[in-house]
Symmetry: C2
Subunit: 235 residues, 2 copies
């Protein structure tokens, strides 16, 4: 096992943890295998034991290793790691587009499921977000927040918690990125059109027509993509 020295930069423990994590995920360390002792790692990496401990603690939090007092640290069985996406990943245009592209099929399906499964409460919450969107003339950031609330409400109406979690997460990231990048004037135009499309979608859901709801969501999202100058495949 090789343990090259760590470059002096920022976040030593995170760097070390990432290195060991790579060793594990890329197969250089197999499940059940014992990590070197903290003492050894500290010597080998040229850092103190505190840093090594913090790195191992991070790996333990991520579920990649297990530590047993008096015995050592061991690579765990291929146990699913939590998914994790950082805001910074959306900095460039490519990532933004990719995430938007991921959003489309999820939201279309959610619209269809919402049409089938929504309750009276769900519909009321959707209507509330619509009212919040057209209520004031505070476009810009307010409009983005209201748009996000609408999409959340539709996702919640599916009755499937995972749609809520994933769509909420993705839509929120996209909203934040838009809000950070776009000028107020552009936002105003976007929001104007958005409201009409939201109402159309809401009506399709209310009439329990999954096909129409899906089409409405598709129209809405592809329209939004166009207004954001994103080119997405459509077929």
């Amino acid at each position: 096992m090789e343990f090259g020295h760590i470059r002096r930069s920022e976040h030593l423990p995170a760097r070390i943890a990432a290195q060991i994590a790579r060793d594990i995920t890329e197969g250089r360390m197999r499940p059940g295998e014992k990590l070197p002792t903290e003492h050894f790692l500290a010597k080998a990496l040229g850092v103190s034991r505190s840093v090594v401990r913090e790195a191992i603690a991070q790996l333990r939090n991520e579920g990649l290793v297990e530590t047993r007092q008096g015995v050592g640290a061991f690579v765990t069985e291929p146990h699913a790691r939590p998914i994790r996406i950082e805001q910074d990943d959306l900095a460039d245009h490519q990532s933004f587009r990719d995430l938007f592209q991921l959003r489309v099929p999820l939201e279309i399906e959610a619209a269809g499921l919402a049409a089938l499964h929504h309750t009276a409460d769900d519909l009321q919450r959707i209507d509330e977000t619509l009212a919040g969107m057209s209520g004031a003339e505070k476009w810009t950031a307010e409009g983005i927040v209201a748009d996000l609330a609408f999409h959340r409400a539709v996702a919640a109406a599916t009755g499937n918690e995972y749609f809520s979690v994933f769509i909420g997460f993705i839509a929120e990231r996209i909203s934040l990125a838009i809000n950070a990048a776009r000028a107020a004037a552009v936002l105003e135009e976007i929001v104007e059109v958005t409201i009409e499309e939201h109402v159309a979608l809401r009506d399709a859901i209310a009439s329990r027509d999954p096909k129409r709801a899906r089409e409405a969501m598709k129209t809405h999202l592809l329209g939004a993509a166009k207004r954001l100058d994103l080119t997405l495949e459509a077929y």
Copy 2:
């Protein structure tokens, strides 16, 4: 702010982290608020600074706090926190079905995008997973792993990293859940059928026919759902 002493049991840092996490998620500490200094917390909780540091490091890994050297630790804004889903959430049948339902539109879209965007390398990796699946007669767990690898390879062929991340995550959870719940005999039958469907999907991708690829994936997933006794909406 109250900081009652921590009971002497196991995993002091985890206990402390959990306590602070509760303070944050239950609103007793608001986003942007500064945590007490490590020194103060150590004194107040009756533990050493190392323990406090490890607890705060865990919170940082979970995205609940941010630390700035020389300044302090601060509660993060909720939207800056990464999405995180634990394995335990899939214990009951309802959750399993819901996650499977979420998977369907994602994978269908991925199949279409893979047909459009795959490179020669992508296709080769897909073929490798097919070979791995039919290569041995070790069905059961091996078959599940190979199935997962196939779906990962297709997602990777989209060229969209987020499809890889999300589909990899979801499919892995489902695979683990299936592996834990099903008997070997049942798995064998499932895998038999799966291979044919995989090949069909592979051919559709290879001929760059997104429509056929989407249909193949849809057939495959809805068939899989049926074999798992899941009832999903289809329209």
